[in-house]
Symmetry: C2
Subunit: 271 residues, 2 copies
Amino acid sequence: MSADHPFDAAIKLSAVGEGVFDGATHAGYANMVGPFGGITASTLLHAAWLHPQRLGEPLALTVNFAGPVVEGPFRVTARALRTNRSTQHWHIELEQGGELAASASAVFGQRRDTWSATEIAPPLHGPGEQVPVKGLSPRVVWPQRYEMQFVKGGWPDFANPQDAPADSDSELWIRDSPPRPLDALALAAICDAFYPRIFRRRQRFTPAGTVTLSTYFHADAALLAAQGTRAVLGRARAQHFGGGYFDQTAEIWGDGGRLLAVSHQLVYFKD
Amino acid sequence: MSADHPFDAAIKLSAVGEGVFDGATHAGYANMVGPFGGITASTLLHAAWLHPQRLGEPLALTVNFAGPVVEGPFRVTARALRTNRSTQHWHIELEQGGELAASASAVFGQRRDTWSATEIAPPLHGPGEQVPVKGLSPRVVWPQRYEMQFVKGGWPDFANPQDAPADSDSELWIRDSPPRPLDALALAAICDAFYPRIFRRRQRFTPAGTVTLSTYFHADAALLAAQGTRAVLGRARAQHFGGGYFDQTAEIWGDGGRLLAVSHQLVYFKD
């Protein structure tokens, strides 16, 4: 953690009571409406992380985006619902003006040395290219907080759309900008750093917002620390669009083809 | 809903206050320790479903299994955290003896008629065969509550294991036994009806339990009702095993290759 890094400034929380923290939105992570969902996810995880009762490392995080987060201060409360031998379950809420804007569940625990295997294959991992973000509202600042080198499926140019592809796959090398050593907090945000898959599939701007996001952490703190500031390889794709919602799924790969995290989300869209 | 069906008996809740319900475990859905996780997931969803403030249909459900559910009565409380134009966010808790055993978040909402597309392909959908459940503890009753016809990856015979396969894929036709018209409550349980993928991958019994389970519902009530009592086609596979945990992901397909739901879970295992 570095107090000077915009990521750490954005997820900064000040304890004002047992499990009660004050924070504020950060202009550097602004999205179309409110902050980038990934920074909200990290902030909620951070509250459990900072809690004096917290045991172990993050295993899973689900964030529900219940209403818009507006620019300004917010309050986060984290409560350990139950602690077992192997896992600890948390409920976390983010409020503004007395109204809930986001809630989360987090599971922390101790990993043990066990048999391991990865069944999914890493992406192509060719060299990436930087694809400029064009045609999005100037309010959308958060992509500047990441270095993104796309192997496939870069930001669409809404003014000059390509033919719509048959799938919504993107693959990219990504890291914080400026570079920051990887940890579970940064990884939680990176898992949400794939632009809405409907932008790619339809090659046009569509109002869209994450409804719920679940991330499973497969890497422990030592493996994340070993990744350091080197870019990770991310892959995202949608599974189904319809009825005003779609789901998208993501994988984050580290050095040596190690799967660091998988993440799934349900997204609202308007067409 | 049929009051006589074991599924409906198992998820039955009696309102004892605003958003407070009493229920009890059902011997027909017993698992190794406590009830089948899918029936607990449906019971938690049912509490929000029954709440007089509930609007719309289930879009997403995340259940966190915080501790063992023991045989006997339990209390479920459901609270609407926030209701917006398009979605309603719920927090649900299941307690026994004053201690939390499971918590959940659910998102309900209205679907709208929009552009739609499915990017993942349905499984092989060949004919299935019934594979007997062998070598599991006689305490594991819940598989008898489903008709399962496996296309691929049936129950391992722990006494006579096959060579361990290179993946953990299973594909099967599944419906309630006796047959029951499909709805989101039954679908929520079916999403968890795939035996732990580590059983298939390693062809041996391994103590394992779901830590957290997230399901996204892609079908509305009309589409589920049209499926009636006909079996759905399910597919499940693991992505990564390691550190004492693995994740598995599932798809449920209806008639005509319609994707009804996708589901993801993180599972604890001991080796």
